[in-house]
Assembly symmetry: D3
Homo-oligomer: 150 residues x 6
């Protein structure tokens, strides 16, 4: 729900953890159909049986979309997305893996180009049931300052 | 389809352009249901009518997933995704916008940590019908070298 | 298909039984995405493994929507839904359960407020393959009378 | 997210209001496909143009599933659904309507059959943009008592 | 529902007509995602605006799948599909068209290769609101004979 | 992508083979919901366990739609679909089967009714992992001639 916070309110190091969600074969099929990416790495179990992983692997775009989607429980009307940096997929997501995401407030810097706004980094990490990381990225927010820097 | 290319085969500056696709209200609803992100910016037309954009805006994760998905027409068995850098969403995607993506080969650098592999940047830009950019990102590929650097 | 019946034509005790349908993991994922309810009881297999049921349980709203949906094979142009009473979910539906619904005509009463109409109760019960009941509800129909009560 | 509350913690009259959501043609089509109910009242625009409403009307099961789904933002590990009473659909939902739900705590009563539990009624009302009510129902919760009645 | 009929029971010339269904943009998007066919004729409104039809046209495979799907209201346990002949799409289906299907019993012939079975042709025609035909095909059934030919 | 070919360019006997795709339970559920065909042969695992196949079988319309959909990787702006002949489903598709399609150019004939066009038959065969054929059909294309027959 709504949780209004200004630039000044973000505390580096603060962390929140989302609910978990099991990634199903359905998610693989829905994502292929949603994006048009039917590459055999995601969709052809016979092909994958002969690959290094031995089974289908999730689309990186799905791991990102669902990993980030899990965090969509708090709306801050003073913030919006500037972009994402350093997207990485250290371990693959397979059908049946259960993931959750942690968001940790990282660096905060006033934005020299946008008076009255600052950038806040949300370090976004998605892990699966064995503790390994399947998504790392840095979500850059532009957040309104309560008291604009002079 | 399959198009085998080694690190040496990527030519900086080479460009390819995908087919176009109209982003529909259905895509908005499917993406919300796929990711669990039902924020009113994407799903509540009344809320959006009073916002700056005046209408619903696409999830950034959808613009990314479909923008990148449009490029999934060529499989290179010698390459895999290392990550993405500098994801930006300069303009919003609205219901009814038609997008396509261009991929331009950028910088190529041998990978100091992985002997026999190099990094290739694919500059990925998604534009809509009015020519404005709705997604910019740098897709980093790890590509096998034909002749490993000594 | 169409099956026209007036209030007078409903016979208390008459019963019909629908086809069966296996509830799949896909249905769970589709329902979560359709309603926005991603509670871990339905979506997180790890969480559920530690719960009393030991596995994911269907959303009550899904058991109701599909249980009632199974009955949608006969349109009576003389009847429409007034409401539902006493919705209960005596046993949970798990992934892989096969359900069917029986509809039994219950009490019939003229509607004092709507001259020319009566209320007909359709006792709606959905059972799974082991015979246990997963949904009970009373569907109240408003049905036109052939010969309005004087 | 999790919000633990015992029977004693529910305050009759307390109210919460959900986010809004626009019901789209996509939702109509998804619900038909999910439930198997393809009745022309929901799916045939030509048929509906000649009906009293002049346009397609939402499945009651969808208004219920999404209306209740909107409330799924707080998990109380001390409560679970006992059932629903008095489901009514006073006004129809059409394509393009934007709905939100209010939940008001109603009557609280110790459960004579389940020692240590009480029943709490959540009066659930879904309204659309013009303020009219499209769903009314009473959600009956079974809630653990902090201090079981003697 | 079930409607048991033997080869002898099919009467050439007998006709049944299905309910109608409006084909929506959602159906276009779902079909593309289901089949992987994202050709611009179906998915790119800008491309189609410059084409002869001036708008998106339905996949032939969708017109067939939904046109035939509309007829799936009667199960005959004595019949199964042998194949389809002469599939044609005389007019295109556009977003918003409302279609229904008529099935007319055509030619009946004993099957020389399968003793005790005969072939029954179901002439399947799907029309839209202006009366024009969008699908024609001949559904060939293999039907058990009540009294096998000697 | 686009691959322009005139009638003269099609070489009988030329063959292409698509990527593979595993048909999932999700595809079964999506197809039922897309077409409205919820027959127990496709949707009721209990019913199917007692049938000859012992398990659910794919809708013929799905095998056709996905089998043909797999071939949608090359757009020829000089060709369009005239129809399909001899659709057959020699073996059933079950959940978990992996299919691919081969397209072989068959007979070519000038079209006596459409000056400047000819008909090209694409023999379309979909096979599963054990090599058996699950779909056979003849896709009839109308293709523009480079030099119209005099």
């Amino acid at each position: 729900m709504e949780n209004e916070r200004y630039f000044e309110d973000y505390e580096p190091g603060a962390m929140r953890k989302t609910l978990g969600r099991t990634i199903t074969e359905t998610d693989f099929v829905v994502h292929a159909g949603h994006t048009g990416d039917f590459f055999p790495h995601h969709m052809d179990a016979e092909f994958c049986a002969k690959s290094d992983f031995g089974q289908r692997i999730a689309h990186g775009t799905m791991t990102f979309a669902i990993g980030v989607g899990l965090t969509a429980t708090e709306i801050n009307p003073r913030a919006f997305t500037y972009g994402y940096e350093r997207l990485r997929f250290p371990k693959p997501v397979h059908i049946g893996d259960t993931i959750h995401t942690t968001v940790t407030i990282g660096e905060k810097t006033p934005d020299p180009k946008r008076k009255g706004f600052g950038k806040v980094v949300e370090i976004t990490e998605t892990r699966k049931q064995d503790g390994s990381t399947v998504l790392y990225c840095e979500h850059i927010l532009l957040v309104e300052m309560r008291e604009p820097a002079k």
